[in-house]
């Protein structure tokens, strides 16, 4: 008998979920941001159908506030796997008047992504969307199901969730409704990094220490870039940083770090004392229920 290490158990569980959904849904799609979690998710999907190709496309919800390194990485992975890429653009949603650009301090396109995402799901008639969200990320997510149901308006009802027993997932839905699928629900941030190291998985270079011009805002290091207008007194300086999460440049903070290799990053994550969202996402620090509120609206 082969005894599975816990990472292989988590991997097997995630592969199981991906195969269940591919078998039971008509039009699944995998949400791929180029971030570390979606990189792992894509590898899981690749493994689930080997030696066949992915039986569904991948979709990137593009805020327009991208790190170019991440877009390069996205395009490279998509080409390697020979999968179809659907790009849903927040800029287009703004141009079409579906959403309004936020202004003022803390403005970002993070929340706007919800509308773009839901519009794209409706347009392509996707009935299941795989995401890389994890239950350890945030308290509201700790309560979320692996198959998380969304009504015809894309909304999440946390108190009306279907019980999820054993590995028997109920994906039944009506036309117009869809399901978010989180195969990495039971992974922690450290598991993700350990898996990336074990798999020797390529990631966008911004996850590793590099010199960058940044400035300090609310205790976070933000990239000095035209999409993040600096306020008075916010002076840019160059230092060695890396990113713990990848999101809208305007609200995603870098951490001062010299961890330039995978083992160094794993060691750094293993000894950190702050959660990734607390450290690097301004939008999650607004209120204790910020994530729950965004999720109710249909956020990732």
């Amino acid at each position: 008998m082969t005894d599975l290490s816990y990472l292989r158990l988590l991997e097997s569980e995630a592969i199981f979920v991906v195969r269940e959904v591919a078998a039971e849904f008509e039009r699944p799609v995998l949400l791929f941001s180029g971030g570390k979690d979606s990189a792992v998710l894509l590898r899981i999907a690749e493994k689930a159908f080997h030696p066949a190709r992915l039986p569904f496309p991948v979709m990137h919800v593009d805020t327009g506030h991208n790190f170019p390194e991440v877009i390069d990485y996205r395009d490279r992975r998509v080409a390697e796997l020979g999968v179809r890429l659907v790009v849903a653009s927040v800029q287009e949603s703004i141009d079409k008047g579906r959403v309004q650009e936020e202004t003022g301090p803390g403005a970002s396109r993070n929340r706007l992504q919800t509308v773009t995402l839901l519009d794209a799901i409706a347009e392509h008639r996707f009935d299941a969307a795989f995401g890389g969200a994890r239950r350890d990320e945030e308290r509201a997510r700790a309560k979320e199901r692996v198959l998380s149901f969304r009504d015809e308006l894309g909304q999440w009802d946390p108190s009306g969730q279907r019980p999820e027993l054993w590995s028997l997932y109920n994906g039944r839905h009506r036309r117009g409704e869809h399901v978010r699928v989180f195969p990495l629900s039971n992974w922690t941030e450290l598991d993700i990094w350990r898996y990336i190291a074990a798999e020797d998985l390529e990631l966008p270079s911004i996850y590793f220490a590099h010199r960058r011009s940044v400035f300090l805002r609310d205790g976070m290091l933000l990239a000095d870039d035209p999409v993040v207008p600096r306020h008075r007194g916010e002076e840019p300086f160059e230092t060695s940083v890396r990113y713990r999460t990848v999101g809208d440049m305007a609200v995603t903070g870098a951490v001062a770090s010299t961890a330039a290799t995978l083992p160094e990053v794993v060691a750094e994550i293993a000894s950190t004392r702050v959660t990734e969202r607390g450290e690097t996402r301004a939008d999650d620090r607004f209120s204790v229920a910020a994530m729950e509120d965004r999720k109710r609206e249909g956020y990732f």
């Binding site: 082969t2 292989r8 308290r139 309560k143 999820e164 027993l165 028997l168 004392r273």
Partner: protein, 640 residues
């Protein structure tokens, strides 16, 4: 009293190597038992709580102004929970030590949330039952122990909390531990342990406590690290692999590749092993165990793998590959313990979807054996239905045979859920107590099959034709009949015997006595399937054009063909309903919309698209393309 100053510890050293084992723990108990505090303590003392999470707790605790650090705030994630100060839903928490990673399913203890407890326990290796040392073993502790044993959680730990409030008294602990053990044993629990703790002060949670030197057992965390779960997973020695998905790459490098993807649900599958396919009964040998990371010699429990077999069998999702010496029972009748999960009570005699492993079909509730009073745990045989949070025993009859083990034998192949087809809710969690082999034989034992003098192969050789069935399924007006008749004409002109069985034509004779209820449709599909089977046996390519909306009915026809050794190609004519409705060749969509006819597929009756058809035709493409694709698929499957 815990203050912020206590938390400025050094982070626990985390090794680069991942901890070797995973333990899934479910907790049951109420806020009054100090359960959330215990979890907060475990997370905190094992350094799984990070500074910003702790600061948020400190901030909220301070705002409440009772001066106490409320560790429960770490686990109560939803706004409603924080506002009401209660745990409503199952929350999943994660922490790790150098030896193990833990997934903690934290469930509320109140009787109103029995279903949440059942949910948490369903995947647990170990259950923690919280007991207040001042109260002793209450009704609710007994209920928690009962649920843990019903769900066959291998290890149950009574955590006797608030020992500080009984002066760390040994006698009190011993009495509670003995009470709990004697009750748990009666429920059939395998392994029961009791540990005295004070979650508030941390006694015996992570470190052994000085205040209870009379206790010589391990601290809770040490116990969680040490408890032997490897043998639990080894227990289920009978090989089971429910097929999830058939992998066929359709590219030149893997032209003949056919792999059955699934996760091992019991035993260890080895290359060279004989396997039986259940329910079809076909047998083969394992040729290869494939993964992305290379071929394996063997695959043990919980591993996701892709199995290649030596023989070219037509195996689809829902079948189970098993050890031929001890296969699962093929059953349509079953007795099961269930927990009712839905607001809407069980409809006695009602029909539900049943999902067991990877197979979904319909099942009728044929009887309620008893309902268990979750307060007293007494069985009441007089009640006719189950409501939300009720536990009871049901009899069920499935529309199709299921491959089942008892839940005691296998927690994967012995479990199922029931789904309401109207609300789509998961309404019940079921554990098989007894599965009745081969119930309701379709054929009377007095009917003996007349064996013809001529073998099928001789007939086919003599007429130079081979029979098979092509099954076109899809919404009304999706274009099935047009494709079917075009293919028929093409083949017949080329000298191939082919014959269309069209749903509308059949309604004038063979199925003329049937209506459009779900049962009548099932029977209509069955008859069309049998007619196709006879044509195929005779050496004709039967082309069936039938809406056939339910997957279970189509699967039954496929299995009949497999059992008879005849080829079967399922083709989904996948035309969007909007286009079908625009075409509306017979004006039926209009009538259905106007309410003149009911039960119309695509309007007020569901169409269950085949999850893995042999061929999917985009019905809005050109007719020529569709027919060409069909011809190609027939060639690929060696059916021409």
């Amino acid at each position: 009293m815990t203050t912020l100053e206590d938390h400025r510890g050094e982070p626990m050293p985390q090794p680069l190597e991942a901890p070797p084992e995973l333990l899934r723990v479910a907790t049951a108990g109420s806020v009054d038992d100090g359960k959330s505090t215990l979890i907060g303590r475990l997370l905190h003392d094992s350094k799984a709580i990070l500074e910003d999470q702790l600061e948020a707790v400190v901030r909220t605790s301070t705002e409440r102004g009772d001066g106490r650090l409320d560790l429960a705030l770490l686990t109560d994630g939803l706004r409603a929970e924080r506002e009401q100060g209660i745990t409503i839903d199952v929350a999943y928490r994660f922490f790790a030590t150098a030896r193990r990673s833990f997934i903690l399913a934290d469930t509320p203890g109140h009787v109103r949330y029995t279903r949440n407890m059942v949910t948490g326990a369903s995947t647990a290796d170990l259950a923690l039952v919280l007991i207040d040392a001042r109260q002793g073993v209450l009704e609710q502790s007994r209920r928690h122990a009962f649920i843990a044993s019903l769900l066959r959680v291998p290890h149950v730990v009574a955590v006797v909390n608030k020992m500080d409030l009984v002066d760390y008294d040994e006698e009190t602990f011993r009495r509670i531990a003995e009470d709990f053990r004697s009750f748990a044993r009666r429920t059939g629990a395998d392994d029961v342990t009791a540990i005295p703790v004070s979650a508030l002060h941390g006694d015996n949670v992570v470190e052994r406590s000085d205040a209870m030197d009379w206790y010589d057992g391990p601290s809770l965390l040490r116990y969680l690290e040490d408890v032997d779960v490897a043998t639990d997973r080894l227990e289920h020695a009978h090989v089971r692999l429910p097929v999830q998905y058939v992998i066929r790459p359709h590219d030149d490098a893997h032209h003949d590749y056919r792999g059955y993807a699934g996760r091992v649900a019991g035993g260890t599958l080895r290359v060279g092993d004989e396997v039986v396919v259940v329910p079809s009964g076909a047998r083969s040998r394992v040729l290869g165990l494939d993964t992305f990371d290379g071929e394996l010699d063997e695959a043990g429990p919980a591993l996701s793998v892709t199995v290649r077999l030596a023989d070219d069998l037509d195996i689809s999702r829902g079948q189970v590959l098993a050890d031929p010496s001890s296969p699962p029972v093929v059953a349509r009748e079953l007795v099961a313990d269930v927990c009712w999960l839905d607001e809407q009570a069980l409809r006695p005699g009602g029909r539900y979807l049943i999902k067991a492993a990877t197979r979904t079909t319909r099942a009728t509730v044929t009887g309620v054996e008893h309902v268990i009073d979750v307060q007293t745990l007494e069985r009441d045989a007089t009640r006719a239905t189950l409501g939300l949070n009720d536990l009871g025993r049901l009899r069920l009859r499935a529309a199709e045979p299921l491959a089942l083990d008892t839940y005691a034998e296998n927690r994967t192949t012995g479990a199922f859920i029931l789904i309401d087809e109207v609300s789509n809710h998961t309404v019940a969690a079921g554990m098989v107590v007894e599965a009745v082999e081969g119930a309701r034989p379709l054929v009377s034992p007095n009917v003996v099959r007349h064996a013809g003098a001529l073998a099928r192969e001789q007939r086919w050789a003599a007429i130079g034709q081979r029979g098979a069935t092509v099954w076109l399924t899809g919404l009304p007006s999706s274009g099935k009949s047009t494709i079917a008749t075009t293919l028929e004409a093409l083949l017949v002109r080329a000298g191939r015997a082919a014959y269309v069985l069209d749903g509308d034509t059949l309604r004038h004779g063979l199925t003329g006595d049937l209506g459009f209820s779900a049962e009548a449709r099932a029977e209509s599909v069955r008859r069309a399937g049998e007619a196709a089977l006879l044509l195929a046996d005779a050496g004709t390519l039967a082309i069936v054009s039938l809406v056939s909306p339910y997957a279970a009915d189509r699967d039954a026809v496929r299995r009949r063909h497999e059992a008879e050794g005849l080829g079967f190609l399922e083709v989904h004519v996948d035309t969007p309903v909007e286009i079908c409705e625009q075409r509306d060749s017979k004006g039926l969509y209009a009538k259905a919309r106007a309410g003149e006819i009911s039960g119309f597929t695509g309007v007020d009756d569901p169409y269950e698209a085949p999850p893995a058809p042999d061929l999917r035709l985009a019905g809005d493409g050109s007719l020529d393309d569709a027919v060409a694709a069909l011809e190609r698929a027939l060639g690929d499957h060696d059916l021409l």
